[in-house]
């Protein structure tokens, strides 16, 4: 909620600003205290909130799965093992459904993507003011708790996937095969420049669509949470309008949060499935 010191625009901006660490205009290294400062840092800056949250979430998930894997046995599984097995079978089944090649890395890759993205998206369900309020009280100017609303996070993963796509394309088809795939179709060897343009766009579109889809969905979701939260900010005493707004904020944020559970899971699943599909295409001879 915006206090009197904040206008709505400032409130929104505050919520959408990452905690960026980089070189400040005066030459020293530190945390940017405004959006302009963060922008001025250029490429060699680190969004600490995205970095810390994604590392933390990834570590927690890996730890949980590691615990389950350590005690995994063929006997009666305990609760954690049961859950992890269910998750693995679910991932394994969907990988088998869309990946036709043989590669032992695809399963773990899909598992990591699904649960990492899922947990990062899930942070969206934390009431949006809690973490920034806590951090502000600790003296940290910004803290965006949902890493997947930071394009750096989604593009980072998409680039990772893209490199795998390139690697397996070259490995499976050979460098010549891969280049041929890019240049010799759909129009045959005389349409080479056109082919390269079409196939190049096709190739580049993969990581970009992957990253932007996740980013766009989560960013928009976050935005709507912020807008809903602003409604209560219009609170001005016990007037008819104030109470109505306040009540509708509660109802709307509840409704949106429930709907968002679906989006959170769906986006994680889509990211995973598309990754598997792209890698499957990389493994297959073009026809």
């Amino acid at each position: 909620m915006s206090s009197e010191a904040h206008t709505s625009a400032e409130y929104i901006k505050h919520h959408l600003q990452n905690l960026t660490y980089g070189q400040l205009p005066d030459g020293t290294w530190g945390v940017a205290h405004s959006a302009e400062q963060a922008k001025a840092m250029g490429f060699w800056a680190l969004n600490l909130d995205t970095f810390i949250m994604s590392l933390l979430l990834g570590a927690v998930i890996m730890f949980v799965f590691y615990r389950a894997a350590q005690s995994a046995s063929a006997g009666t599984p305990n609760g954690l093992q049961n859950f992890c097995e269910w998750a693995l079978e679910f991932i394994d089944n969907s990988v088998r459904g869309s990946f036709s090649g043989k590669n032992t890395m695809i399963g773990p890759l899909a598992l990591t993507i699904f649960f990492w993205v899922f947990s990062m998206n899930l942070m969206d369900l934390i009431p949006i003011d809690y973490i920034p309020l806590l951090m502000t009280s600790l003296g940290v100017p910004f803290f965006k708790v949902v890493p997947s609303t930071d394009p750096n996070a989604t593009f980072g993963m998409a680039i990772g996937v893209f490199m795998l796509v390139l690697y397996y394309s070259v490995k499976m088809k050979g460098l010549g095969g891969f280049v041929g795939e890019l240049t010799l179709q759909p129009f045959g060897k005389f349409g080479m420049p056109v082919n390269l343009l079409l196939e190049g766009v096709n190739l580049i579109a993969k990581p970009i669509s992957l990253a932007l889809r996740l980013f766009g969905n989560m960013y928009a979701g976050e935005m709507i949470f912020i807008l809903i939260a602003l409604m209560g900010g219009a609170w001005a005493g016990f007037s008819m309008g104030g109470v109505t707004l306040y009540g509708s904020q509660i109802l709307l944020s509840l409704g949106w949060a429930i709907f968002h559970i679906l989006i959170v899971t769906l986006q994680a699943f889509i990211f995973m499935t598309l990754t598997v599909v792209y890698l499957d295409m990389a493994h297959q001879e073009h026809h």
Binding site: L16, N18, T20, G22, A38, K39, M41, G42, F43, W44, A45, L46, N47, T50, F51, S54, L55, G58, M62, F65, Y66, A68, A69, Q70, A72, S73, A74, G75, P77, Q81, C84, E85, L88, E89, D92, T104, M105, G107, P108, L109, L111, T112, W116, P147, D150, P151, N152, A153, F155, G156, M157, I159, G160, M163
Partner: protein, 156 residues
């Protein structure tokens, strides 16, 4: 939301997480799953086999029971037959024995009658001699009249 080095950090983290997941999570859990699948499949196969064995055993026990019943019936029939045979044999034997005893007794009676007759005959001849002697009032020369007497005895 500027693009900055977070991008690289995220990519590196991603790679590390995938590696970790592959090495320490996926493999052991999948191995456990496979092992359990095999365990359950084996268990089910064992249960099927046991069921089959049970059916066979039931069939076999019914067979054995039926055979035993047949054998018993046969033995009882044999026993009855043998018993009646024994009875018949005993009856026949008894009849033969009885006949033999009766024949023996008859022979003995005949012998006895014959002996009594002989005795009676000699006694009668003696009585007749004594009676004749008395009647004639004199001593009869036994030697002289023995032929006559013998004839008389034979006639009696």
């Amino acid at each position: 939301m500027n693009i900055n080095a977070t991008l690289l950090a995220q990519t590196i983290m991603f790679a590390l997480f995938v590696w970790f997941c592959m090495k320490f999570v996926w493999t052991p859990i999948m191995a456990a799953l496979e092992a359990r699948k095999k365990l359950i499949a084996d268990g089910l196969a064992d249960a099927d086999r046991a069921k089959h064995d049970l059916e066979l055993a039931a069939k076999r026990s019914a067979e054995v029971l039926r055979e035993a019943k047949e054998k018993v019936a046969e033995i009882v029939a044999n026993g009855e037959k043998r018993a009646s045979e024994i009875v018949e044999e005993a009856k026949a034997q008894a009849r033969v024995e009885g006949d033999r005893i009766i024949a023996g007794a008859k022979a003995e009676i005949d012998q006895e009658v014959f002996r009594a007759k002989e005795q009676l005959r000699t006694q009668v001849s003696a009585i007749a001699l004594a009676g004749a002697g008395k009647i004639l009032g004199r001593e009869i020369d036994a030697k002289a009249h023995n032929d006559l007497l013998d004839k008389l005895v034979a006639e009696i």
